[in-house]
């Protein structure tokens, strides 16, 4: 009984924290802070995953996002104007339409979640979800697992190619312009 109350309390803490942090991502001036708010939101979701019995997924989510958000903060500082949020600013377009669309998505999905008939078939206790996942990963779903690995590898190679200094038509820093069709023409712009 006590345990159930504790789990409930932890769930609501994670849930409210996660949603509020997710909202604050788009309401703070500082982009670096936005990255850390997003990390907080992910940590909340990771906590809920652990409470639901998917310990492995929850911890992996937190670990992955901790690294990813640090990279994101570095990218912000490198490329974006005003990364520290010293000047108040909002950089949004079509704000009302976007807010309406977000609200509509929330209402529709919440209605599906609250009204939809879901089968009641919980994880049998005591759950050994991580062990089962390990056997699944190297058993029946090994092809999926391998495909994910190869997809990640090809993503890394593709990212290096896209972000490399050499553009499609020469050095990217020089503009990487498309050459003219005829030798004496102006370049196509």
């Amino acid at each position: 009984m006590i345990e159930g109350t504790l789990v409930d309390a932890a769930f609501w803490l994670f849930a409210i924290g996660s949603v509020v942090a997710g909202f604050r991502v788009f309401r703070t001036d500082s982009m670096v802070r936005a990255a850390f708010y997003l990390l907080a939101s992910f940590a909340g979701v990771g906590g809920i995953l652990v409470l639901l019995g998917a310990e492995f997924l929850g911890m992996v989510l937190i670990l992955m996002m901790a690294g990813e958000m640090l990279v994101m903060a570095i990218v912000m500082v490198m490329f974006m104007m005003n990364p520290a949020g010293l000047n108040p600013m909002t950089m949004v377009h079509q704000n009302r339409t976007a807010a309406a669309a977000g609200l509509a998505a929330f209402v529709v999905l919440a209605a599906v979640g609250l009204l939809g008939p879901f089968p009641d078939h919980p994880v049998p206790e005591p759950a050994a979800a991580t062990e089962e996942l390990g056997i699944e990963l190297l058993g029946d779903s090994m092809l999926v697992f391998q495909t994910a690995g190869v997809a990640l590898l090809s993503t890394m190679i593709g990212a290096i190619v896209i972000a490399g200094r050499k553009g499609r038509y020469g050095i990217a820093d020089d503009g990487s312009e498309e050459p003219p069709l005829q030798p004496d023409e102006e370049p196509v712009r």
Binding site: V19, F26, A54, E68, A148, A163
Partner: protein
């Protein structure tokens, strides 16, 4: 911790993500919106795995695929930001009038 409550949280995260993706001008903020979308989807997936699918391990497998999608999206997003910045000096969507080049 009822299934409905968790699905409500997932819907809220997804709704915030939709708002972020549609409204933000900065590329990185836009990607944060995308991350929130996948975050909400992952939460809904795991609660249905735990409560409606009886803890079938293939459900967790799908969760791992979701995380792979997250990582792929972030990596390619950062690469595209770097590439666009090199050629156009653009850091917000409004500065990109055309995609060619």
């Amino acid at each position: 911790m009822s299934t409905e409550a968790v699905l409500l949280v997932a819907a809220a995260l997804f709704g915030i993500g939709v708002y972020g993706v549609l409204s933000q001008q900065s590329f990185v903020m836009l990607m944060m919106g995308l991350e929130l979308l996948i975050n909400g989807a992952l939460l809904a997936l795991v609660v249905l795995w735990a409560r409606a699918a009886g803890g079938n391990p293939q459900g967790q497998m799908l969760g791992i695929v979701f995380m792979t999608v997250m990582a792929v999206e972030m990596t390619l997003g950062f690469a595209l930001i770097t590439g666009v910045y090199r050629v156009r000096r653009a850091d917000i969507t409004e500065k990109l009038r055309r995609l060619k080049g």
